[in-house]
Symmetry: C2
Subunit: 204 residues, 2 copies
Amino acid sequence: MELSNNLIERTCKVFGYLDTLEKKDMEFVSSMDLAKAIGATAYTVRKDISLLDITGYTRKGYGVRALKEELGKKLCLNKKRKACIVGLGRLGTALLDYEKFQEDGFKIVAGFDSSINKLERIRTHIDVYPVSLIKEIIDNKKIELGIITVPAEYAQDVADDLIKAGVTGILNFSHIKINLPRHIINVNLDFTNALRCIAAQLTD
Amino acid sequence: MELSNNLIERTCKVFGYLDTLEKKDMEFVSSMDLAKAIGATAYTVRKDISLLDITGYTRKGYGVRALKEELGKKLCLNKKRKACIVGLGRLGTALLDYEKFQEDGFKIVAGFDSSINKLERIRTHIDVYPVSLIKEIIDNKKIELGIITVPAEYAQDVADDLIKAGVTGILNFSHIKINLPRHIINVNLDFTNALRCIAAQLTD
């Protein structure tokens, strides 16, 4: 099934919102509510869901738990994925213990940094290693996802190392776009660009 | 001039890329290179730029500095914007000293937290205050942007406080969608959703 990036992005947001609703013990949700929560139209939400071959829209709306389960299956979100973080500066260490990842099916199982000094001082319950062990640890722990939080000038090298080690998905927090082979799935989260998008829409 | 969100997002990315090129002393850039850097087509890039009434595409491409300057003017990115951060946990403190913001025309001028204990222990060169002073400080310092890094359950309250205090743009790092008046510009950066988008595209 070949799905567009936009559909995947929207549907992942729907999944996240359903998770919130489930925790609040909500039983049903309308396509309109889903649409509002993710910033799309109700038509788009219904179309996305039907493109995924999911039915089940009743007069009361979608069943929250059933829809979440179905979406999770279709997008393989029910599988627990192991991830590592490279670059244990402030952002990296903040993410290392970010509990929300854990709740949502992602398990950070390793952190890497080039500074032995930093590795010795760090306080976390996650195992941390020097970057020279990236390949070995990723192999051993069967890590699928790499989160890059090193300074921009090292981001490409780190990405190359992660891919050589077998990681297939990369979340890049540096503001540099990294060049990756086509089969590697990649999302950039650029904080500055997010602020810029806001600033560009301010009226004065 | 009414610009679509997609155009603004793409153009902000182009601006960021031009900034990188400028620092590398590149003089010209083709629409194809810009397109690759931001993940769009060359046609879209040229169309966006011409929709902004910017000309200047030559055989060598766009002049890097000239295009950056023009885009900056059209999107008001040349104005220095003041921002504050609410929630000084690990992520908040990581962002407090995030130098890239500074370089890019954003100045973090205040941090807020509800824990006096945390405020006393924090080590940063930015002024930090208890949340009870949000209105006063935002007024005094003329802060336009608010960055929310509190736990999800407090995000809505913090957003309400920021808006009452006069902030017009919000960057929300909590995974909760917050309800905002229409005139408030808002971007959500949800780390978990970013990982989910990656996971949904992995082949097994």
